[in-house]
Structure formats: structure tokens, C-alpha cells
Symmetry: D2
Subunit: 466 residues, 4 copies
């Protein structure tokens, strides 16, 4: 056998199903050999006592994206991808958001310009479709699918984004016909607006009332509706950021009936609660996201759905707005809950939190960790087998974890462009210490070794129902 550009030696490797001690041989950016012992590496990294895992795939994050109300996220494709890489990821799929009136081609052009020169890891986009005109449905979306952008998100809430049920049926049908996957932010817009107005009327306006204004019923209703519509046209549908027991159960029930329904949850719903919003002054704003944080009982339930496959994805929903006048406080230093930009940062902490609280506590196996951080997303979004696993022929996207390293989370220790982290002060054990993207070491010894723009756009395959 010929030589390798790089050999990862002596580590304990894991896929979504297997855990094995092996050397991994890399050539031309791909894994070409997995063996008991490999020699002939131009470089060899000794991974003794380390875990060698597929690089994480962060499939839900907001990067260099203006919100519907015009606020730009604090992270661009450079800081966002760097933070992702330090958090164990080698691929991410931010959103390319259509604002009403825009063509899809324009949207993609905009995001190509933002991503290509900057990203240090491979990337794709999910489109956000807010204006499903006939041109969009018949020509522009199919063209995007053709380009390998085979998933897109719609919203059932937010006045500037939401699609109506009939549009949703059209969208789902187009997606089904082209093998694309529809993702949905499922909250009932009316319930939220109605409740928000009531709260504001009574001067319950502090950030913490954000949680009250987005009741569980709003999520459960919209998830049920989304399932009904997708089930009717037999199209796959991914419910993102599930935060309620009722929502998770509806998804699992639909799956049991044979529908192609998927669900995602996020670290904030596993590790934070609405009590975190009960901070003095405006500080609750740091914890405002939609759907909002819930309670510890719900955390337990969501863990169970992750464990038993009722929910398939675990993503950060990284939506970075600084706690300053560019972000959370853009409208006021003392904002009402309606003025706070929704979203929490978390791209770098997603995998470490799951490792520490999931694998080390025995809640999930190491293989389930791989599934939840990499493989399931790769399969869901048409990246497998190129991404999301350790197999011959796959891209050499690897995360070498030290399972025993303990760190205390601080905003300063993270690499995003944020001034706070909602996970401040947590103690976490297990960290990705060396990151390899297409065979190239991009993080090592706490240093970034990658160049802006070295990440590659990924043309993704159609969604295959699993």
C-alpha cells in the first residue's frame, strides 16, 4: 500500500454504530484506509487515549444573516466557521434567507459572497423561503435543488416570514417532487401575537415575558398542523427546535404511523430553563429565543426522545446577537420582550455539552453521540457518505476528542463573535482538541491553522426518507 498524507494513529474511533481501535490513513483529503496499523504517513498524529470521531455537522445555525427585522448576526462565515471548528464541527449548514421580493438566485448570490471567501470549514445552505411565488416554486427552488441545495426552511410564525397553509401544501409538494426536505419553524403565529398583545397591554413587557408569550400550545398546535399537511401530501418534513413534550410526542406518533416526519431539538432546551430568563434588568434578554426555554421536566422528556429515536437531530440553532446595541439591545437598553432579537449562540458548545452531559453520564452511547452530532444530519441533508462518518472513501473530516479534559465555559474562551454565552460557568468534560477538515489540520493546540475561505461549498444529494 502506498503512502498517506496523514495518519491518525492509536485512537479509539467511533461511528454511529461501531467503536474500534484503528489507525486512519488519509490521502487527498479522503479516508483511504482504516487498519490496525498504518505506516507511511507523511505526518502521523498520535491519538492515544483520544477519541477519533467524525467531524460534527452543525445543521441549524444563523450566520451572516439579517433577521426579518434587519438585524445582522454577530457572526459572519469566518467567526462562525471558526467557532464551529473549535466546537468539533467540520461542516455547517447555515441559512440563506429570502426576504420577500427577492429571487432565490439573488439570495444564493448574496450568501455565496458571504460564505466563499470566509468559511474555514465546508458548508452548504438551507434556503429560507418566505415568498413562495409561482416563479419560486416552479423555477427558482428547483434550480436551487439542482445546485445541490436540497433543503429549505419555512416559518409558520413571524409576520414577515410566515407561509399560509395553502402555500405550505404547494411547498411540500414541490419538495416531494424534487427530493428536497422541508424544514419548519412551527409555532402558531396567532397565539403568539394575541398573547403578546395581552401581555403588553398589561405592561408585562420585561424580557422574561417572552416565555409566556410563546406558550407550549403554540408549538404543539403548529407541529400538529405541519404534520397534517405533510402527511396529506406524503412529503417529508423536519420540525426544527422542538421544545415541548406535546410536540415531541406528535412527531414520534406520526413516525409510528409511517409518516416521514423528523424532529430536532437543541442544547438550550436540554440545558437551560425559563428560569434563566428571570435575571434582573435586561439580562433576561440573553436567554430569549423562539421557541422559548421551558422547564426541567421537559428536559428529561427531550432526552428520552433523543435516546429512543423519536427526535433525530440535535443542533445549536446558533443565532448570535450580542448583548449590546448591535444585537439584543438594538432597540433599547431596556427592551421589551418584543424588542429583543430572538436567538442564542451555541455553535461551539453544542457537541461538548452533549458529550459531557450525555456520553459521560451514560444517557447516550458514544455511537449515539456520533449519530446526533454528525451522522444523522449527514443522512438527513444529503451529505452521506461523503460526510458524517469514518469510512473508506469519506472525506477526512475528523474530530479528535480528549474525553477527559475538563473546562469551564466562559464567553472569552469561545471563538464566536459574541460577548456572552448562555452556558457561562458550566463545567464540561470532554473537548475536541484537534480538528481535521478534508485531511488538513485546522485546529490544534488551541490554535486555528485554517485559512479563511478554505471551506468548500457542498453540493448535496436529494433527501432520502430514512
Amino acid at each position: 500500500m502506498s503512502d498517506y498524507d496523514l495518519v491518525i494513529a492509536n485512537g479509539l474511533a467511533a461511528t454511529a454504530t461501531d467503536t474500534f481501535r484503528a489507525d486512519i490513513g488519509i490521502r487527498d483529503g479522503r479516508i483511504v484506509a482504516i487498519a490496525e496499523e498504518l505506516e507511511g504517513g507523511a505526518r502521523t498524529i498520535d491519538a492515544t487515549a483520544k477519541l477519533v470521531l467524525p467531524g460534527g455537522i452543525e445543521s441549524h445555525c444563523h450566520i451572516a444573516q439579517e433577521s426579518a427585522s434587519g438585524i445582522m448576526t454577530s457572526d459572519d462565515y469566518y467567526t462562525g466557521s471558526v467557532s464551529a471548528a473549535f466546537g468539533g464541527n467540520t461542516t455547517f449548514i447555515p441559512f440563506a434567507a429570502q426576504h420577500r421580493g427577492q429571487t432565490i438566485a439573488d439570495v444564493l448570490k448574496t450568501y455565496d459572497d458571504r460564505a466563499a471567501p470566509k468559511s474555514v470549514i465546508d458548508y452548504s445552505y438551507h434556503l429560507i423561503v418566505s415568498d413562495p411565488t409561482e416563479a419560486v416554486l416552479k423555477e427558482e427552488l428547483p434550480a436551487a435543488f439542482e445546485r445541490g441545495i436540497t433543503s429549505f426552511k419555512v416559518f409558520l410564525t413571524y409576520d414577515l416570514l410566515k407561509v399560509e397553509d395553502e402555500q405550505m401544501l404547494d411547498i411540500l409538494t414541490v419538495a416531494r417532487e424534487h427530493g428536497a426536505l422541508t424544514m419548519v419553524h412551527a409555532e402558531n403565529n396567532a397565539l403568539i401575537k394575541w398573547m403578546s398583545a395581552r401581555l403588553m397591554d398589561k405592561d408585562y413587557s420585561a424580557p422574561k415575558y417572552h416565555a409566556v408569550s410563546h406558550p407550549r400550545a403554540a408549538e404543539v398546535e403548529a407541529i400538529n398542523r405541519g404534520i397534517a399537511l405533510a402527511g396529506f401530501v406524503d412529503a417529508p418534513l423536519l420540525i426544527v427546535h422542538v421544545s415541548t413534550e406535546g410536540g415531541a410526542r406528535a412527531i414520534a406518533d406520526a413516525r409510528r404511523e409511517g409518516l416521514k416526519i423528523y424532529g430536532e431539538t437543541c442544547p438550550q432546551y436540554l440545558f437551560l430553563t425559563s428560569e434563566d430568563m428571570d435575571r434582573p434588568g435586561a439580562e433576561g434578554a440573553k436567554f430569549c429565543c423562539s421557541p422559548p426555554l421551558r422547564d426541567t421536566e421537559t428536559q428529561d422528556v427531550l432526552w428520552r426522545y433523543l435516546q429512543t429515536g423519536g427526535l433525530q437531530l440535535y443542533s445549536s440553532d446558533h443565532a448570535p446577537y450580542r448583548y449590546d446595541e448591535t444585537g439584543k439591545l438594538v432597540h433599547s437598553k431596556d427592551p421589551t420582550f418584543k424588542q429583543v432579537a430572538n436567538g442564542l449562540p451555541g455553535i461551539e458548545m453544542r457537541a461538548p455539552l452533549l458529550f459531557s452531559e450525555g456520553v459521560r453520564t451514560g444517557r447516550i452511547s458514544l455511537n449515539q453521540f456520533v449519530s446526533l452530532t454528525a451522522t444523522n444530519a449527514a443522512k438527513m441533508f444529503g451529505l452521506h457518505p461523503q460526510k458524517g462518518t469514518i469510512a473508506v472513501g469519506a472525506d477526512a473530516d475528523l474530530a479528535i476528542w480528549d474525553p477527559d479534559e475538563t473546562r469551564t465555559v466562559t464567553a472569552g474562551g469561545l471563538h464566536d463573535n459574541m460577548d456572552y454565552t448562555p452556558f457561562e460557568g458550566l463545567e464540561v468534560t470532554g473537548w475536541p482538541v484537534t480538528m481535521i477538515s478534508r485531511g488538513r489540520v485546522i485546529v490544534e493546540g488551541g490554535e486555528l491553522l485554517a485559512d479563511a475561505g478554505q471551506g468548500t461549498f457542498l453540493k448535496r444529494a436529494p433527501h432520502e426518507p430514512a
Copy 2:
């Protein structure tokens, strides 16, 4: 890299999660390298256009076992293992059945004598415990676990086998303490006896009334009870041969609540129905098994539970009784349903049927096929990572499948010691054409190349809840 004893070249390999084109290098009975290209094999098998899969693990079969009423199965460890091998399996786990009064040591001695000289593939046993005396619970079972026999089955039905609820609690507790897995044949004995007596009273005695005498309610009740007992002591429990929607749902519901409950179903419940028992004369006896065959609606439901993970195992429950005076007709040429030995043969057809009707129809993916035929059983029964996957360090137990070969099932074409197959006449596409056990080719070109007794007893690890 050094040489290999055997290289499987150019095949499309699959694990429970990945599918990749690679060469597989084998040395000393184990997989030592997986690479784009491997040279230096003492022998190389060209698997172009073939699938290279983990050898199947048949985890529910009755071999060289006397029934409680004394009838010996037609297959011994030679014919049974040969048939298993021709059906794509490299490991099987028959039962070592305690009859009341026997010590566990005696039982194991008996089965060691039956298995060791004869099996052509690796094997272990599940114990059957019918007499859970204090000695059995406190000393004999723990000793068996220590020997690596870390699972055992109990019955909630059959007068000569059944354990009472209080015994069940003791058994489950002992199992939990030692990391062993309890399996249960869950049917309500009273319902069956009561109904059987009523049927016999009215001369509804033909074999086909077997189905009526084992109503769905009997299974559902016993599954619910088993779950209640196991849940109470927080012990893992595997419900074997689930044949009802109510049963499957109870299992999936329990899992959703976080209980360590598992479920298995079998080919007969996916591919046959109770109408198959409606044959003239005694021929219905060929289709008598417990629980009995149900209907096509239930088949669809069981498929869905397999697809979505509500059921985790797919086993043959091979229980071979010939259609002659040594088996089905032992008591009479015109037996009543109570005189018919219960059980169907199927060890050789299990995997091919699932491939043909599952993978080729798109009902399940190739990776799910690997999970259901090999990986899940390996994990459930403490054989992983030695068995059940293709990974560096694993035993070189491989099945090379021709995905396009079509055969018509006939009893004569199978290698068990049976005179009929319930699947006679089915057309099946996809067959395991070359079988490799610990790096040694045991089936090739339709010929057996293995020696009786070359299979090895497997010391299994404790059960780990998944």
C-alpha cells in the same frame, strides 16, 4: 503494510450506518484493514457487483432441543449451523433448555456436548429457565453469566415451562444485578388453555384452530404484564416473537417512557398469515407456531415498527419439526391443534426474505438490513464489537451477497433437516453466495467448505441497555 490471509476486494460493504466501496483485509481470523485498495492477500476474493455484509446473527432458534413434551427438533448443531450459514449467518444463539429438576450446569453440559463437535459457525446459548429455584437464582445462573451466557428466556405460558409473576420478579432482579438480559415468551397461559378447552369441547380441533386458541389478547396481556414487572424492578426485558399490533405498541410506548424494553419479530409474522393454516387435512400443522400467524394488516404494522425502531430484532424462531411422525405428526397422522408441535423452520430464509422484501422494495435501507440481521443482535447479546459489524478488530465474519440473484424457495434447496418449508414457492431476489467465518470461507459456489465443530463457543459480555 504486511500481508493478509484473505482480501475481499471491490465489493460494496455495509454496516448498520455506512455503505462504502472498499477492500477488506483479513489476518488471523480478524479484519485488520479496510482500504480503497489492498494488496498482498494470500487469497483474494473478487466481490465486484456484490455486497459485503457482516455475517448474520441468528439469535432465536431451537437446535438439538427437546420440547417440554419431549420431541427433539429435527436439526442438530450440524444441520442447523449449516443451514444458518447458507442463509447468510456466521453466528447463532440457540437455546439451552432447562427442564424442571435439572441444574443449569447439567443443562449447559448437555448442550456443550451437542454443539461443540458439530457447529460449523460460532455459537452461544440463551438459557431457558423453567425452574428458578433459589439455587438457580443465587448460584447457577450467576455461574452461567460468568461463563459468558448472559441472556436467558422464560415463558409466561406452557404448563411445564411457565414462571409465575413472583418468580419473574426474582429472575428479573437477578438478571439486572448481573447485567444479564431476560427474554420472555409472552402469552397469557390461562387465556390459551381456556380457549383451547372450549374449542376442543366443540370439536374445533383441526390444526387451523391453533390460531383461534392463541388470541391476540393473550399476547397483548402478557406483554403488558412483562413490561409492568420489568419496569417495576427497572430490569431490561426482551419480548420475543411479537405478533400483534397491541404488543408492538406496548413495547414502543414503554421505550418512550424510558424503560429498557426490547422487541423482536420474525419472518413468519411478516410473510405468512393465519390463512396459510387453512389447508386441507393435517397440512395446516405445517404453519402452527406460537404465537400464531395473524393477518396482512398486522404485517404492515410490524414492518412499520421495524422501520422506526419500535422493534429491534428480527429472528427466525427456527423450530424445526418435520411433517412426519418425528415431528408435526408425532401424536397422530390427523392431529388436533393441541397435538401439533409448535414451530416453523426458517433459519436459512430469514435474511434472504428480509433482503428481498425489505431492501429491494425500499421498505428498509441496506443499513437497516444489517442492523436487523446482525448488529442489533450483536449489541443486545454482548457480542459487539467482535461480531455483527465490519470494523477493524472485528472477527472476519462476512456474508457476500449477490443482490440480483433470484431463486425460488423449495424445501429441497435448503440445508436444514426438514421436509418442508413454509415459504415454499416464494420467489426471492438477493442471496448470500459466499460465507466467511473468522476469515475462513465456509460456503462458496453452493458448497459447504466447513468442518463440523469448527465453530467456537462465544463468551458473551453483559447486556448493556441501548
Copy 3:
């Protein structure tokens, strides 16, 4: 004891809970005595071998009402009330339908003019609210409630009628504050429009495609949404004309959780199926109603929910459109399913069908029959104890049934202004032979003895959650 205007002697009387043999003494239009034997009646009707039941309350019917597209029902308050009376009813509550732009006062004025001079039985209205402006919500509806019109219906479907979710929340809240009951026609408008357009595109336009265009999913989705909204503001909600298992289950589940949700079904969903629409030419139009007819399996399910209290009301949804150019064929002699006015007549057959197929078959008790035809509606709609029962102090509204009289249903034998009945040819046993309204005999010997306009408007009490 003093004399009576009328004594009903020797009958077997029944209420929602009791069945008893007694004489009933009536004075000044009310029941003043119930006793083993009463003398001194100015008139005595001998009810030997007859049942004496509370007069039925028909709480869902469309009388003298223009549809949103402008077609007037064939029945006015004279023919409608006469037909109701011959069908065993002494009270009905048609709809007073707001068209967008109308004030509620104008609506009520219109219907007062239509009803007061004509109705032969007592009546009230449910409003239909299609334009919930602030004036309507804050002033006009409360004024109507004050007048004793304490229930109203909204639609989640039909472009000219539907209310949006946020309006629905406002409406439910106003209703809750005033003790009014919201009723809802729950079908998802988008699903229906989307499917209808698809069907028309492909020229599946015959009347029978009406059933396909209103899928079960549309009803189940809207019922779930209605429950979510009502549950959120803790307001009572009555789902009318439930036609699906999924809908009935959602209602029963909500009730089990303590929500004030109620459900109604109708004779067409118990006695007809979508196969009745499969008639040649335009005849399927005679069976077009919304939601559409379903299947026999659903019939069984709906019976069970009526039996066990999961559904509480049984109404005709009498919506009479003749099979001619004034009704079903108004747009064309060969109409598409979109051109057919939706609705079936049934006000006269409602109770007899339930008696014949419910009481006589043993599916329900005579007391359940009374509940479903009279008492439950009286309680739900604020008419109890004045109406809906046989008790001292109640209005003397009575139906004397001959439980053994068998008739064959023909359009000609009914008293509405229709030219067909969907129940043509059914044989029915048990008929109301004498009808008494406020102590006055209005039907006897097959003759109408009432005067147009003798019916009285009923000021209803607020809804009390049951």
C-alpha cells in the same frame, strides 16, 4: 288538586335518566303534575302502549338562510318548523347568519322577521359570525347575548365565512367572558381549496369528488387547532358535525384533560357513506354535504363515541337545497362538485332514525335517546330546565311515540319543502305520532294542528360548562 288543561295518561314516560309509567298533568302550557293517576283534565290523551318523551330539540339546522354564495334554503320557518314537529321536535335553533358588513342587530332583525310570523314551534337562533369587528366583539355580540342568544357559530373554512386564528382567540375570549358558547365548523380551508384545485385541474369534477376534496385530515387538523385555541383561553367550544375518528378522539381526549370541549355528530354520518355519492350523473349531488360522508367503519366509531359520551350532541344539520335549479342544480344541470350547494335535509328523520337504529337495536337506551335528541341540547344551549325534559315546571313540550309503528321513508311522506330525502327507502320503526308544544297539540293523526307563528322566541340562559 285542581284541574288540568290536558292530561297525558297511561304512557311510559322517559327522561335522560328515568323511565316511568305516569300521567302527566299540564296547565298553562307547563307540566304541573306527574303522578300515578291524574284526573280532571279538560282533555285527556290516552298514551297506553306509547312512549311519552320530551319534545326534541333540533339544535343544528339551516332555515330561511342564504348561503354565503346567496342560495336560499328551500325551507322557511313555516315548512322547517312543521317538518321538525312531524319529526318529534318542539324546539329548534336555526342559524342567524351574518354576512360580512352586516351588523348583528340587522342580522337578528332579518331573522326575527323570518321566524316570528311563521314558526309553529319554539325557536331561538345561533348567530353565525363571519365578520368579528371590534364593534361586533365589544358591543353587538354582548347585546345579542343579553337578548338570550347565547351561542354562535364560526367557520374555519369557506373563504367568505372563515375566521383567522387570532380572530378566533378574540371570539372565544368574548364568549367566555359573557357565558356564551362558541360553535365551530372545523375543516382546514387550505387543505380543501388545495385539493379541490388539484381535482378540478385533472377534471375530477363530478359531485362524488366532493368527498375527496374534503379529506379527513382537513377535519382532524381543524379540530385539533380549535381545541388548542379554546384550551389556551379556557373557553368552551362545541365542534359541530364531527365525521372522523380522529376528530372524535381529539374531542374525547381534550375532555379527559378537563377542557370544556364538546362534539356533535349527525344522522348522515351514522346512516350514509360516501358510496351514496357514487350515483350516475348529477345524482351524487343529493349527498354532498360538508364534512362529507365517510365509511361504515367510521359509523361504528361515531356510534361508540355517542354511547360513551365522547360526543354529546346529535343534530340533523338540516340544510335543504332541492334537487333542482333553486338548489343543488342552481349553477348547472351537470354541476361540478364545487358548484353543488352543500347540505342534506334531515330535520324530520333525525329522531326516528336514532330511535329505530339506536334504541330498538339496543345500541343506546331510551334514556340516552332522550339525552341525544333533547336534554343535552337543552343544557348545552341554556334552555334547561324549561325545555328538554319531563319535569314539574318545564314547558309541556312532549312527543308521544308509537315505538312499534313501521314506516318506509319517502320524500313525499315528509313535511319539509324538499323534493328528495337522502334516506329514501329506509324502513324505520318508531314514530312520534302526537306532538304537544306548551300544552297545545300541534300534530295528531298525521295532521298539523298548529298555526303559523304560534312558536315563541326563547331567551336562552348562558352556557354552563357540564
Copy 4:
């Protein structure tokens, strides 16, 4: 109209469906007239500002009964019936308990001797069948049914009482054939014994561990099993004293599927919790009953099932054992939980507690109160229409309640033969102040006016599925 022996004038009467102001005329022990105004009563009771309700039917109580271990209840048919009468009841149905080896005829003879000379109110028995021999099933039970004893209870727990599943099937079948109703104490015997032994082993023996030894799982399992067996033979089954959400849900689910399953709960599960057992020393013994007390969350759930008809009966399960050496302390002054006689007294407080906490709080209507205290039991147990309602022809069994009278519960204020009440100190509003049995005043002004033995044995009709 002729005169009356007694007239109850000016009260507000209520049945299970109606509430009306009327005078009630009684002659020869029966209600013969209900009218706006009645004159000519030999005696007239003015019930102004009072409620006139059907006398309560206490259908689950243990009177003059030896437990399986031989302890006699403290109440005999005199004290028991007097206490029942003071608590608003005019009928009770204690148990006639078969001990193994006894014939049913002997059992009935024993209880006739105990009841006939003593009871001040009408009575029947439910048999307890602990020894279902063929003679019992084929001859003795049918003979008892013929005598009008059309219901009987079996136990799935207690070694000396329990029936096996196969016996249960025989029993249910016999009951179905004769129109009798089977009642079942549903707890899994094995779970209780197994857990009790574990607790005793570890010296967790104080009375409060009784609750731990009877886990919820034991009840839920046995209820599921009971439903499975009854559903299989399509026989009616009443689950007594339901104390768990899982049990109540299983019953309601079975009903929804059309099975003839009924459920009962008791005041102790609505008004007490297992924390009441946490008293110092032996005092926890006062609160030991089976199934044990649960928690406040379960109380809320059971209320909901009562409100929505998922549970149909509300009985005291009065099982009076004094807190002395004749009862709770018979085996020891410091008994273990296994030595404590199980059971709580409550026959006198059943109805007042439900009135105070149910009707006055608005949880249930007055009509539901009548259903739960009288009508439902009358219908379930073949006593309707003679008992359980206010209707012409019914027995004049009436309870006149003062809805505003407030009392504080004390053991001394009750009329049973107990030395404690578990409801000591509760403040309750609404009391039955005058009791009338077959037209005879038996309680008035706090005095008993009845003679021992004036109560009559009631021959009951077969059970009719409702």
C-alpha cells in the same frame, strides 16, 4: 286525587338529569305524585331552602364481615346501616364473603342472619367468590343470581382470596350468561408480595410502608389484565377502588373501544394522600387501605375521570377496623404494615364530602352528585328504577339536604362503631338532615327514628350494560 301518607313540600328536587321545585307525594312507601303543589298529606315536611335528593346507595362497604384473616369489622348491620342513613343513604350493598370451602348458600344464610334483624335501610349483598369450584360456578352462583344477588366480587390479590386468570375467565363467562356483574379488586399479588418481602427484609416495616408495598404498577397491571380477560369473553367488569391515573385511563380507553368496563373510586383517593400515613408510631395504621392512598396529583386526575364519566361509581369502601386490639392493632400495639388490617371507615362521610368538595366548589353539578351517590349504582346493580331516583313509582327513599349547614368532622359526631375517622377535623358544608326510607322518616333532627330490621332485602335485576 286521593291523599298521601307524606308530602315533601317546597323543596328543590334533583335527579341525575333534572333540578326542579316541586312537592312530592308519597303513598304506601312509593312516590306517587310530583307536582307544583300537593295537598292532602297525612304529614307534610316543609323542605323550603332544602334539597330533596334520591337517597344515596352505598354500593361498596364491608359490614359484619370477617376478613380473610378472621378479623370482624367493627360495624354490624345495625351500626353500619345507621351510619349510612345519617350519611344520606337509604340503600347499601355490603359483601357476603365466601371463605374457601363454604357453599354460597351457607354464605348467604350467614349474612341473611346478620342483616335481616338489624338493618335500618334496604340492602342487598354482593357475593365475594374466593372458591369458584364447578359447583359454585354451575349451580350455586346461578342460584344466587336467581335470588336477585346479581353481582359479586373477586380478588386478583390476597393469597386466601385470589382467583387465577383461568378461574377468572370461567367466572366472567358464568356472569355474562346470567346477566350478573363481576367486580374485581385489581392488584397484582406477586408485585405486592415481592415488594413486601423486600421491605420487611430491610426492616422497613412501619405502617407507612404499606403504601410502598402496593405500588401503582400493581394496580395498573391487574386492571389491564382484568380488562383483557373480560374483553376477551365480552363480559362486563367493574374495577373497584381505582386509585391510579394509569388504571383510570385503562378503563376509559377500554370503554372507548366499546368494552363493558366500569370503574369506581372512593373518597379516600380524592381527599387523602399517602402523606397522611406519615404519622408517628402506629398512627399511620389508621390510613392503611388497599390500594393505598396516593398523591394530590392523582386526586385531580380522579376528579376529572369522575367529571367526564370515565369512572362511574363513587363508593366509600367502608371497611371499619377500630384503632384498638379488635382492629388495626389486633396483632400488635406496634404493628408492621403487614399486620395492619386494611381498610378505612367512611360510609357516613362519603356523600357529604362529595357535596362539599364537589358540588359547592363547582367541580360537579348537583345532578352529577345524584348520579355518583345514587343513580349510577342503582343502574349498575339492578336496582333502578325502584331505587336511585325521584320518579313516580320509585320507592320513596329520599334525602333532604341542607346545602348550607357546615359541620366539622369528628369521630364522635359519626354514628358508626369506630373510634376514629380519617377525615377528622375537615370542615364540610352541606348535610343530609332528614332521611326517608320507603316513605318513613328514619332520621330527623339528628335523631334516629328507625327500628332495627326495618330495612328490606332487595331482589336485584340482572346487570344491563350501560
